[in-house]
């Protein structure tokens, strides 16, 4: 499989009013192969979301300075014209925003927001886009899709909002999905469902995923490879089990291992219950 995304020497500096610029991302390089799921982990504030935003070229000039190179399917994204970027965003590369609460327009119904994304990339009638949006919403686990469809974001629970955002990202079947904490406000059952969904589309369409998540469980379940970031740099890279078993840095170990819970005996029983319940369906 060919390389889908090449990031070279990505550097992001935030312009801060009245203070010196803040280096959020420093000289980050990595590759992503088609169909691959790469996990990105790291301490809060280490620059993960910034990297994700940079991949989609979402920085305004006066806010941040972005340098380096981002090549997607042989196209350099940095410095690309906004109009061309617009065609790529959402259809080739799409992003699940970290905080759904602020990523949704408060003035539009949830269903319409999904439909808008479809409408932007498909030459479909508006009616068809809406129908498609409804099926996608159902697929991301919004059981009462009709209600959610016509609800405004402030009428939805955190989890519901997150799934709307997920639906937006998935609706056009992008070749690269950048998911920034996609399950942060999902309960365990919904998370499992989401994982199933990811696997499903991955096997179905062969999309690659850059998965940003703090949850080692999530990373362990889906990520083929793991990048560990610290202070804006990638400090370690490798397969999950490799890093889990013998990390180079203490930092990595701390990111991956929960300091609690393991010692609890009752947990063993629960584990036993879970044994049969694999995610592969």
């Amino acid at each position: 499989m060919g390389s889908l995304l090449q990031v070279r020497n990505l550097t992001i500096r935030y312009q801060v009013d009245g203070a010196e610029p803040h280096h959020a991302v420093n000289d980050v390089s990595f590759d992503l192969v088609s169909g691959e799921v790469v996990g990105l982990m790291g301490e809060s504030g280490c620059g993960k979301s910034s990297t994700a935003l940079a991949l989609l070229g979402l920085f305004a000039k006066q806010r941040a300075e972005v340098a380096g190179s981002i090549v997607l399917c042989g196209q350099e994204l940095l410095g690309m014209k906004e109009a061309e970027l617009q065609k790529i965003r959402g259809s080739k590369i799409s992003l699940v925003f970290q905080e759904p609460g602020i990523a949704l327009s408060p003035m539009m119904r949830a269903g319409d927001q999904v439909a808008e994304v479809i409408h932007a990339h498909r030459q479909w009638s508006w009616k068809r886009c809406r129908a498609e949006a409804e099926t996608i919403l159902a697929r991301v686990g919004l059981g009462s899709a009709a209600r959610v469809f016509s609800a405004y974001p402030h009428q939805l629970s955190g989890g519901q909002q997150q799934r709307v955002v997920l639906a937006q990202a998935l609706c056009c079947e992008p070749s690269l999905l950048v998911a920034d904490e996609p399950t942060a406000s999902l309960d365990a059952r919904s998370q499992a469902g989401f994982l199933a969904l990811l696997r499903g589309i991955r096997s179905e369409f062969g999309i690659s995923i850059l998965l940003i998540s703090h949850s080692p469980e999530l990373q362990a379940s889906v990520a083929d490879r793991l990048l560990v970031m610290k202070n804006g740099r990638i400090i370690e890279e490798g397969s999950f089990e490799g890093l889990y078993e013998n990390p180079l840095h203490e930092y990595t170990r701390m990111m991956l291992r929960r300091p609690y819970g393991v010692k609890n005996e009752s947990r063993v029983e629960a584990d036993a219950v879970l044994q049969g319940n694999s995610f592969d369906e």
């Binding site: 312009q15 009013d17 009245g18 006066q62 602020i102 408060p106 402030h154």
Partner: protein
């Protein structure tokens, strides 16, 4: 960094404008009421360095004027008379910033006249009148606009924040205000004032009245925003800390209307300055011989001025950058106080 620089730059320019107006007495070569009955509607004096023979003069000069015998009421340059421009000349007495008496003017000519922007129908120097005019116009515009916005913010804020019957009462009250024929009120106020009150005071008073009456529009705009703003999560969050309504309004809700308030302000100041054009039309203007920007513009509204005396437009043209700087300042301020409308 860049943003801050922009704000200060616009403020500096504004400060410059205002200083020029404050020190009008010094900058203006003539008194605003000095009539030169031999030179009504004289065109602007051109400032020369070279005379008609091509000789260079280190000191800039203006030519004299004489009546054009062929066209009544127009002038010709009199190349015989050369009046050098002098600086810090002694002329009509005035008060610096309204306090210190002085007779020194920034520039002028000893004999002859220098009319930088021509003269009006009485032969009064337009440039001087423009400078002096700003004093009353700016004061009027600012005061009235401030009143409107202040009342608008208070009333619109309360109506939008509490809703219900309070909203009904305040907004219906606003409608009542908007609907009444205020012209009559102004007539009445003007008529009720004694004749001895100075005209510019009357005018200022009327503009303030207009400003007081004018709260209804900003109030409605602000109310709309407040209605939406008070439902935002951070307002709820502050409520959970026990914030009082006054605090919420002041700290969280009204700031979301700053953008609209600023916009209203930048629109209202010019509008109130120009309100005088209408007031003059109704006989409620600042009154002769006091100049004001409104009255300068009001004189433009006659066809013959439009058709014959292009320099009468110069005040308008000069007002554009002033208003534009207000906009720029408002823009810069808006960036500073911006509240993301989410």
């Amino acid at each position: 960094m860049k943003r801050r620089y922009k704000l200060w730059a616009t403020f500096a320019v504004l400060a410059g404008f205002h200083a020029a107006i404050l020190f009008a007495g010094f900058l203006a070569p003539y008194s605003f009421s000095a009539q030169d009955r031999d030179a009504p509607y004289a065109p602007p004096s051109r400032i020369h360095f070279f005379d008609s023979h091509g000789t260079f003069h280190a000191r800039p000069f203006v030519y004299g004027m004489k009546d054009d015998p062929e066209n009544y009421g127009t002038y010709r340059v009199d190349f015989q008379q050369i009046y050098p421009l002098r600086f810090f000349v002694t002329g009509a007495p005035y008060k610096i910033a309204g306090l210190l008496a002085s007779r020194t003017h920034c520039f002028g000519t000893a004999p002859g006249h220098v009319f930088l922007m021509g003269t009006d129908g009485y032969g009064r120097d337009q440039f001087s009148r423009l400078l002096y005019g700003g004093q009353i116009s700016l004061a009027a515009g600012w005061i009235a606009a401030a009143f409107s916005i202040l009342f608008g913010a208070i009333i619109g804020g309360l109506a939008g924040f509490y809703g219900g019957w309070l909203d009904d009462i305040l907004m219906r009250g606003g409608e009542l205000f908007l609907a009444l024929p205020w012209l009559y009120f102004l007539f009445a106020v003007r008529a009720a004032l004694p004749l001895q009150v100075a005209q510019w005071q009357v005018f200022l008073l009327l503009v303030v009245v207009i400003g007081l009456i004018g709260w209804a529009r900003p109030a409605r705009l602000i109310r709309g925003i407040v209605m939406s703003a008070k439902e935002r999560n951070f307002v709820t969050a502050a409520r959970a800390f026990g914030a009082s309504d006054a605090y919420l309004l002041r700290r969280h809700v009204l700031p979301q209307a700053y953008g609209v308030m600023l916009t209203q302000m930048t629109l209202l100041v010019p509008q109130y300055i120009l309100a005088e054009v209408t007031l003059t039309f109704l006989g409620l203007g600042v009154g002769e011989p006091m100049p004001s920007w409104g009255s300068l513009l009001a004189s433009l509204q006659q066809y013959y001025v439009l058709a014959s005396y292009w320099w009468m437009f110069l005040p308008t043209v000069l007002l554009i950058p002033v208003f534009l700087t207000y906009y720029a300042a408002a823009d810069a301020l808006q960036e500073r106080v911006k509240s993301v409308a989410l």
